[in-house]
């Protein structure tokens, strides 16, 4: 095996931005809005870089699908310590309709091409909250998956994954090659330092199109409408318990 790890990163609207829906309810406003790497993807990159620093793996390759701006996200990952990048170019309407199924097909193709030890992704993106890409990638490759990882360790040619599940923590040991998705408590990602950002400008980013990988990115989904959550209305103060009960009855709640 190559000792190579593939990390998928997604460019999303920054978590601190107040999201606005376009007046025509077609999608959210993205023009002029701050974008950055999805926080769970940052955790995935950090984990891969940490493992390389501990000499458990040899090379960290970071990939992102999208228009020109996706290169910025790849550069951030390179500044965090990844070795090289792959920009899968998807633009315009294709990009608007790009979802987990198409991305997982791309990831699967690249994972095979790069002959990786494992693929690591964030558990979900903060824009669509799908939590599907990692799992679909594993299924397409027929590889084991360790999702919601809060702890990772190599044990020989197997990976031990501690997973955060509803009831607590579950530990699994999976064969390589495998797909891992990173959860919040896996690590605390480093900030890219200025010297490292400058050094990262010299690292290579290859440019490919989905067609080059034999992947058809037509979407089977159509977004019909996007709405903001209902506005919070003012509460009403009542003077007595009887008043409260009467109001609740009026509103058909009791």
């Amino acid at each position: 095996m190559s000792g190579r790890v593939l990390v998928g990163v997604k460019r999303v609207i920054d978590y601190a931005v107040k999201i606005r829906v376009k007046p025509d309810n077609s999608c959210v406003v993205t023009d002029g809005v701050k974008h950055s790497m999805n926080p769970f993807c940052e955790i995935a990159v950090e984990e891969a870089v940490k493992m390389k620093e501990k000499k458990l793996i040899k090379e960290v390759v970071v990939v992102s699908c999208g228009p020109q701006q996706a290169m910025e996200t790849i550069r951030t990952a390179l500044a965090m310590g990844a070795d090289r990048g792959i920009h899968v170019e998807v633009t315009g309407k294709d990009y608007e309709n790009l979802g987990p199924l198409q991305v997982s097909k791309i990831m699967a193709a690249l994972a095979k091409k790069e002959d990786v030890l494992f693929v690591i992704l964030g558990k979900q993106a903060i824009d669509d909250d799908c939590n599907q890409t990692g799992q679909m990638t594993a299924a397409l490759l027929d590889w084991p998956q360790g999702t919601f990882a809060s702890e990772l360790s190599m044990e020989g040619d197997k990976i031990k994954v501690v997973r955060e599940i509803d009831g607590g923590l579950e530990t699994v040991k999976i064969n390589t090659p495998a797909v891992i998705t990173a959860d919040l408590r896996l690590n605390t990602p480093r900030y890219a330092t200025l010297p490292n950002i400058m050094k990262a400008k010299k690292k290579k980013i290859a440019n490919v199109k989905p067609a080059d990988l034999g992947v058809d990115i037509t979407s089977r989904l159509e977004v019909l409408r996007v709405d903001e959550p209902p506005q919070r209305e003012a509460g009403v103060k009542v003077e007595t318990v009887d008043d409260l009960v009467a109001r609740l009855k009026e509103a058909g709640r009791i």
């Binding site: 920054d14 601190a16 701050k34 950055s36 790497m37 910025e72 951030t76 500044a79 605390t188 480093r190 900030y191 890219a192 330092t193 200025l194 010297p195 490292n196 950002i197």
Partner: protein, 492 residues
């Protein structure tokens, strides 16, 4: 929440509240018509949602993190842009209503207490990071942006704003109080890092202290209005934008800890490290009482003696040199147990005592509150003042573990005090006055970073002298002749 001032009022009608307030400064008693016209003027500027009378909202905006009691304003307004701030100020100016700017309410000197009532300008809705210029290392922010929010916004650029007071404070608020942090020894305080300010004066005038949009790294043009406003604690104007100097996030960091047989040894090491040209980023001092508190609080086993916590920033190679030099110096001053760490996890563990200091001090006497003193003296006077202060604490049976930014000669006694015991509060008050005067006698200042606020106005006079106070008063009178801007603070 612990402050136990009067319990929540039954909601009076807004008109009645304003009538009953002691705030309206006009010659004639407020009539309900006058009050109504003020309210409708305020509402017409920032909308129905932008003006609040709720008791809870007013109380929230009448206190900060000091032990000064809550003095709620009569009304809180939430402007959304500098034009609204200016229009609101004009209304207040016309009706002689005090104006109290409010950022995050994390001040330590009662700066937002509306001692004469009035209108609190909560600036939290102006929360944009504007105009970032990574290649010029500058950024302009609105008052609703806190230091952690800015650094998060900057994380992809490799830049940061290093001034780090304890709280996640509003950057414009930090400019207003001339805040400082643990790495001032290398990166400076707000005074060195504000390039330009946009502020609204008491009469609504919008002022750009260095000229609109200007951000040269240095200037010799005219009077330094930017630094006149920095540290003015809301008494000269409402800061609505700050242009800040940014720095590159260092390539690598190393933290170290070392204990010493005496305060003198620790301070001598600090001075020598600085003299050796080590560009040390943080050098923090904890006294033996504090180390003991930290051991108990976090189940650690540090030596119970004066301790230095150091942090170095730089490239991998320069760090090696910096750490070696520092280690040599500490050893030659009798320092022992020098430990250092490179990766984030180990650095956190090494510095745990320093991070938990405030809580460890509070844990010494559960149920009590804490007040931090803030004197700052020339480095050479630090051993003397710390030794005398510790003696004072013991003689007066006071709990006051010491933590300090020893690289700046600034230290804090964390006075842990029972808030319902007036005798103890009085003893603490007298102690803090003695401490401030001790610092003044040693060529220092009564406030290194927290500001004058409500409690240090008399000390300010002693510190700068009557002539300087007169000049300050003349500046105040010329910019705010009606004394509407945050009355009762800084100047008496």
């Amino acid at each position: 929440m612990l402050l136990g001032f009067r319990p929540s009022l039954r909601l009076l009608s807004p008109r009645l509240q304003l009538l009953q307030s002691r705030s309206v400064q006009s010659e004639h008693p407020a009539t309900s018509a006058a009050v109504d016209s003020v309210l409708s003027a305020l509402r017409s500027i920032c909308g129905e949602d932008g003006v609040s009378f709720g008791a809870a909202v007013r109380e929230q905006h009448g206190r900060d993190e000091s032990i000064h009691r809550c003095c709620p304003p009569d009304v809180v307004v939430f402007p959304r842009c500098v034009e609204e701030v200016s229009a609101l100020a004009k209304v207040c100016h016309q009706h002689n209503l005090p104006i109290i700017p409010f950022g995050t309410g994390t001040g330590l000197e009662g700066g937002v207490s509306a001692v004469k009532g009035g209108v609190c300008f909560s600036l939290r809705n102006m929360d944009q990071v504007l105009d970032l210029h990574p290649e010029d290392f500058d950024v302009t922010v609105e008052p609703g942006v806190t230091r952690k929010a800015l650094n998060s916004h900057l994380r992809d650029t490799g830049l940061w704003f290093p001034v780090d007071p304890g709280a996640d404070a509003s950057l414009c608020g930090m400019a207003a109080t001339s805040a400082s942090g643990t790495n001032a020894v290398r990166y400076g305080t707000m005074r060195e890092n504000v390039l330009n300010l946009e502020a609204v004066l008491a009469d609504g005038t919008i002022l750009h202290t260095a000229g609109r949009g200007r951000r040269p790294r240095k200037t010799a043009a005219g009077y330094n209005l930017t630094n006149l406003l920095v540290g003015s604690e809301g008494t000269l104007g409402i800061i609505t934008k700050a242009t800040l100097r940014l720095y590159g996030i260092p390539e690598a960091m190393v933290s170290a800890v070392c204990s010493f047989p005496s305060v003198q040894a620790a301070v001598d090491s600090t001075v020598q490290i600085l003299q050796a040209g080590v560009p040390i980023a943080r050098i923090e001092f904890l006294d033996d009482v504090m180390m003991d508190a930290c051991n108990r609080f976090s189940s650690l086993s540090y030596a119970v003696s004066p301790t230095l916590f150091l942090e170095f920033h730089g490239s991998e190679r320069s760090l090696e040199e910096q750490v070696l030099t520092a280690e040599d110096i500490t050893q030659s001053n009798g320092g022992s147990d020098f430990q250092w760490a490179r990766d984030a996890g180990s650095r956190e563990r090494l510095w745990k005592a320093r991070h938990d200091a405030w809580y460890a001090a509070l844990a010494l006497r559960p149920g009590c509150k804490a007040y931090a003193t803030d004197v700052c003296v020339p480095l050479s006077r630090l051993p003397q003042i710390i030794v005398e202060t510790k003696q004072d604490l013991m003689e007066n049976r006071l709990t006051g573990p010491i933590a300090g930014h020893v690289g700046d000669g600034n230290f804090h006694c964390i006075m842990v005090v029972e808030p319902s015991d007036p005798e103890e509060l009085h003893r603490v008050h007298l102690f803090t006055e003695r401490l401030a005067r001790r610092a003044l006698a040693l060529d220092g200042t009564c406030t290194g970073e927290h500001g004058v606020g409500l409690g240090k106005r008399a000390l300010l006079c002693e510190e700068v002298g009557p002539e300087a106070v007169k000049v300050m008063q003349r500046l105040k009178d010329s910019l705010d002749p009606k004394n509407l801007m945050n009355p009762g603070k800084v100047l008496q």
